[in-house]
């Protein structure tokens, strides 16, 4: 068979080739001192020698894969990607980076949704996925020690074999366990068991100088016996440091028992009025018997249940407006039932508008199509979050449960005012939302997501504007972001002057974080954002 000749390219296509030229944004600073091209070249040679030829590259085919994520941070290409295989490799990367003043961006498995692993000025991205071992998994003493490349799916699978589980977040199961505990680990077990820093026992950190810092009991050669190590507790030092203080190469986290019997119930509330629902959440949280507990609006529920956008839409319309999900565990069937029935009575006492959704009811509501195993398993074990339309902007807020009632209402209003309504599955005025109590209801987390098509500029900008309007409104009503932003905001022009006036306490943590940063990173290479001399950033970027 004769191989067909390729058709000649049209003149138009040829012309397009001539018109278009390479236009990748590289460094955009004036008078840069970091990431100079000649130094990047020299650094690459040494990195290849240190890590192995295969594990350091500056090839565009590789760097392009790290230049973007689904968030609203614009693309910035790194110069080099490295894949260290050990703590020693990580230390070597930092030493070489210091030598040549190349910025280093820590990167776990790269599931961040807000551009946190996209380096502002290029440099090296240190990808942790080769370090993917579960170093220890202790059945009796309930802890696991992991490297950055271990994701929740992997750890959960191994933990479940031992009758344990990790407090997994409502994020893809491909997220790095270690990275997620640094930012944020919002999980459905947080009311009873805590989240984030509550579950970190100790860690090994490579500082930007290349030194290895150990925090928690391991620093003194002690067993990870579940509590802070000796003296001042530094075990969570890098949580919300946003990669500015070093690279965590190992972390020991708490695991929890998977009980012998696990029962769940799903009280549903038909109205939009959240007063009763919040009261019910308080009761359940105060009782502290529910192992997992959350509220889910039908919009948030739908995205977990449907197989595609159409099914999600059908599901949203079919299920009750507001739903609580709670799990109860017991050593025996009887014990679990006692807990569940007591909780049921508590909820019914709040309002007779609550009705309890049984699986058969759910099946009827969605016309016979129900992924029951997904309904149960998602919230109990690993979670794979479905997000429709492309990307989403997460509003992650913390406040008291009571306060969220008014906040959520107001946020809907401003989003509608700003974005308007659409015919889409997830209308801006009906952004998917869920709350969950933290720490026995002492505070709560609200997630308020807007969906957008990240490739459609108009849609994206509308959502972006609406989101920030809603977010700042919520902050004005006493909420805080569910993630500490001091390391990100440091260096925003003018902020250092204004903050001490308006927010002196926040200015203090920002100063301390900056002082710590300058101590452990004298050359300012680790997630380089602001300049030590001027105290400000040459670029304005939230993330």
């Amino acid at each position: 068979m004769k191989r067909p000749q390729a058709l000649p390219r049209s003149a138009y296509l040829k012309d397009m080739d001539n018109r278009r030229v390479l236009r990748r944004p590289k460094q955009m600073e004036a008078e840069p001192t970091h990431n100079l091209p000649e130094n990047v070249e020299k650094a690459l040679v040494e990195l290849k020698a240190a890590l192995g030829d295969e594990w350091a590259t500056a090839d565009d085919a590789v760097t392009c894969g790290y230049a973007r994520d689904q968030g609203f941070k614009h693309c910035i290409y790194p110069d080099i990607i490295v894949l260290p295989g050990s703590t020693e490799d990580v230390a070597a990367v930092f030493r070489i980076a210091n030598k040549y003043l190349i910025d280093v961006m820590p990167y776990g498995t790269g599931c961040n949704t807000v551009g946190l692993t996209i380096p502002l000025y290029g440099g090296i991205i240190m990808d942790g996925r080769r370090m993917d071992k579960i170093l220890a998994l202790d059945k009796d003493n309930m802890y696991a020690r992991v490297q950055p490349g271990v994701n929740y799916c992997m750890l959960q699978a191994e933990a479940l074999k031992l009758g344990l589980r990790v407090a997994n977040p409502s994020a893809p199961a491909t997220v790095s366990v270690l990275s997620n505990h640094l930012f944020c680990n919002i999980n459905l077990m947080a009311s009873k068991f805590g989240f984030g820093m509550d579950n970190v026992i100790e860690a090994q950190v490579v500082l930007p100088t290349g030194e290895v810092l150990e925090v928690g009991p391991r620093a003194s050669g002690m067993d990870p016996a579940q509590v802070a190590g000796f003296g001042p507790d530094m075990s969570n030092l890098l949580r919300f440091a946003m990669g500015t203080l070093g690279y965590v190469t190992e972390m020991t986290i708490r695991l929890y028992s998977a009980p012998a019997v696990d029962l769940e119930f799903y009280p549903a509330y038909p109205d939009d009025d959240l007063t009763d629902l919040i009261e019910a959440l308080y009761r359940l949280a105060h009782d502290n018997q529910a192992r997992e507990i959350a509220h889910l609006q039908n919009t948030f529920y739908g995205i977990f249940m449907g197989d595609n956008n159409k099914e999600t839409e059908a599901f949203v319309d079919a299920v009750p407006r507001n739903n609580i999900m709670a799990h109860f565990g017991g050593a025996t069937e009887e014990e679990a039932h006692i807990k569940l029935e007591y909780a049921r009575a508590q909820v019914q006492e709040v309002s007779d508008k609550f009705f309890f959704v049984e699986p058969e009811m759910m099946r009827d509501m969605v016309g016979g199509k129900l992924h029951l195993d997904r309904w149960n398993k998602y919230f109990r074990e690993t979670v794979r979050v479905q997000r429709v339309r492309g990307s989403f902007i997460i509003g992650a807020l913390v406040n008291s449960l009571d306060n969220f009632y008014a906040i959520e209402k107001q946020m809907r209003k401003v989003v509608t005012d700003q974005i308007g309504t659409t015919h889409g599955i997830f209308r801006p005025d009906d952004a998917s939302a869920y709350f969950q109590p933290y720490h026995m209801g002492r505070m709560a987390y609200l997630e308020f997501d807007l969906y957008t098509h990240q490739d459609d500029k108009d849609d994206f900008l509308r959502a972006y504007m609406g989101f920030f309007r809603a977010f700042f409104l919520a902050q004005g009503m006493g909420s805080i972001a569910a993630a500490g932003t001091a390391s990100l905001l440091k260096g925003l022009p003018g902020l250092d002057l204004l903050l001490p006036l308006g927010q002196p306490e926040f200015a203090r943590i920002m100063s301390l974080a900056a002082a710590v940063k300058q101590t452990v990173d004298p050359n300012d290479i680790c997630n380089h954002r602001w300049d030590y001399d001027t105290g400000t950033s040459n670029k304005i970027s939230m993330f």
């Binding site: 068979m1 590789v62 994520d69 949704t113 271990v150 699978a157």
Partner: protein, 403 residues
């Protein structure tokens, strides 16, 4: 060429939304998380698991497409390495589509087609493959005339001369490789035993074009496709049975819309024959087997149950599942023409699959794809494993008995 096989050629640019909407959730890197029971078996992207950089996973290949489209980068040797180490196993799309309604596999396939169409693609190592197909009309570069001998050897009809009940499309590997002759013989005998009046095209059977499709040479593939379809139509056969999984997916996904005959894979045909009682597996077998879902048969055509029902019909045989099975199957290492250029890489993947067989305590891996058989055999050698590889039809024939 008189006309394209596909009425409207798909282009990468039509999938711009797909690569632009990738949200880097990384579920394309592994298996369905609800079905992972061991950390090791989360991993399912062969190239990503080996080479580790983003570019070697679907999530990174989306960026390869986007960055090229936006003229942010140019093609480099590493770009080509990332493109051609993909085994096109479809694991990424299997995980991604239900969540995001994105087709990462299709993007990768069309990126390869773009590479060929624009002249920057294909590696020097691909040249011999193209040469063999040009000169010999088959993937192995063997004389087509040898296929005519099979008519007599197998005792089947010459479908180009006589009308037959079913046309058996043998495929290049089964036609020529001596180590696969046994499976071919078993297939024909089982089909005849089931009552089928089997014919083959002999030397008129050309390569189905799967290697060309996988390399992205769409034009060349369509040339083969068109020719094959004309010859098949000319036989008047209503059913065409494929032996090889790659042929099956080509027939099922490409030829089917343009061909009069209905394509079916041999496991589908045989499984139906067993269900109807046209075949009966009477002799007891021994051992523990694990069915390896070939990517092209399983994920592409969703043929999962039929091979399993065949094995379950064999008395005495114990069947276990791989940890990564059905839609989660791990590629044997032979997909996407990657092993043709990177044989060590292919071998590593094959060895991993053999390890998995050992893990689930299978003493035999059973499959129905010559590429899988060959790769798994090399994996067994590479691991010095006691595990065996068998073709499902050979195994069945032993139980059915008779000649």
């Amino acid at each position: 060429m008189k006309e394209n096989l596909t009425k409207t050629r798909e282009l990468l640019s039509q999938y711009r939304e797909d690569y632009a909407l990738c949200s880097k959730c990384k579920i394309c890197h592994g298996n369905h998380v609800q079905e992972v029971n061991h950390a090791r078996f989360f991993r399912n992207c062969p190239s990503g698991s080996r080479f580790r950089y983003e570019a070697y996973y679907a999530s990174g290949r989306m960026e390869l497409a986007r960055a090229l489209n936006l003229k942010e980068i140019e093609v480099t040797p590493q770009y080509l390495h990332a493109l051609y180490t993909c085994m096109e196993c479809g694991s990424c799309q299997e995980q991604c589509y239900p969540v995001k309604q994105i087709f990462p596999l299709r993007v990768i396939e069309l990126l390869r087609e773009k590479a060929v169409a624009e002249g920057w693609g294909l590696l020097p190592e691909h040249a011999p493959i193209l040469k063999k197909l040009e000169e010999s009309d088959n993937y192995l570069g063997k004389p087509q005339a040898e296929r005519d001998k099979l008519i007599k050897e197998l005792g089947v009809e010459d479908a180009s001369k006589e009308k037959c009940g079913v046309l058996l499309f043998i495929g290049c590997q089964y036609s020529y490789k001596s180590e696969l002759k046994k499976a071919l013989g078993s297939a024909v005998r089982l089909l005849r035993k089931s009552g089928a009046d089997v014919g083959i095209l002999g030397s008129k059977e050309l390569c189905c074009g799967a290697p060309l499709l996988e390399l992205g040479d769409r034009d060349f593939f369509e040339a083969f496709g068109k020719e094959n379809i004309e010859r098949i139509d000319a036989t008047g056969a209503e059913t065409v049975i494929t032996l090889c999984s790659h042929c099956a997916s080509v027939f099922g996904e490409e030829y089917a819309g343009f061909m009069k005959a209905s394509p079916v894979h041999v496991t589908q045909y045989i499984s139906e024959a067993l269900a109807k009682g046209d075949l009966k597996a009477g002799k007891k077998a021994k051992g523990t087997v694990a069915w390896h879902d070939p990517c092209r048969l399983g994920r592409r055509l969703k043929v999962y149950d039929e091979p399993r029902s065949i094995l379950d019909a064999i008395p005495g045989l114990k069947r276990v599942e791989f940890e990564r099975s059905r839609g989660n199957t791990l590629c044997c290492g032979g997909g996407g023409m990657a092993a043709a250029v990177y044989p060590e890489f292919g071998l590593e993947v094959a060895k991993e699959r053999v390890y998995e067989a050992e893990f689930v305590d299978a003493d035999t891996i059973v499959t129905a794809c010559p590429w899988c058989e060959e790769m798994l055999q090399s994996g067994i050698g590479g691991r010095k494993s006691k595990v065996k590889v068998e073709n499902i039809l050979t195994l069945l024939e032993e139980s059915v008995g008779g000649k």
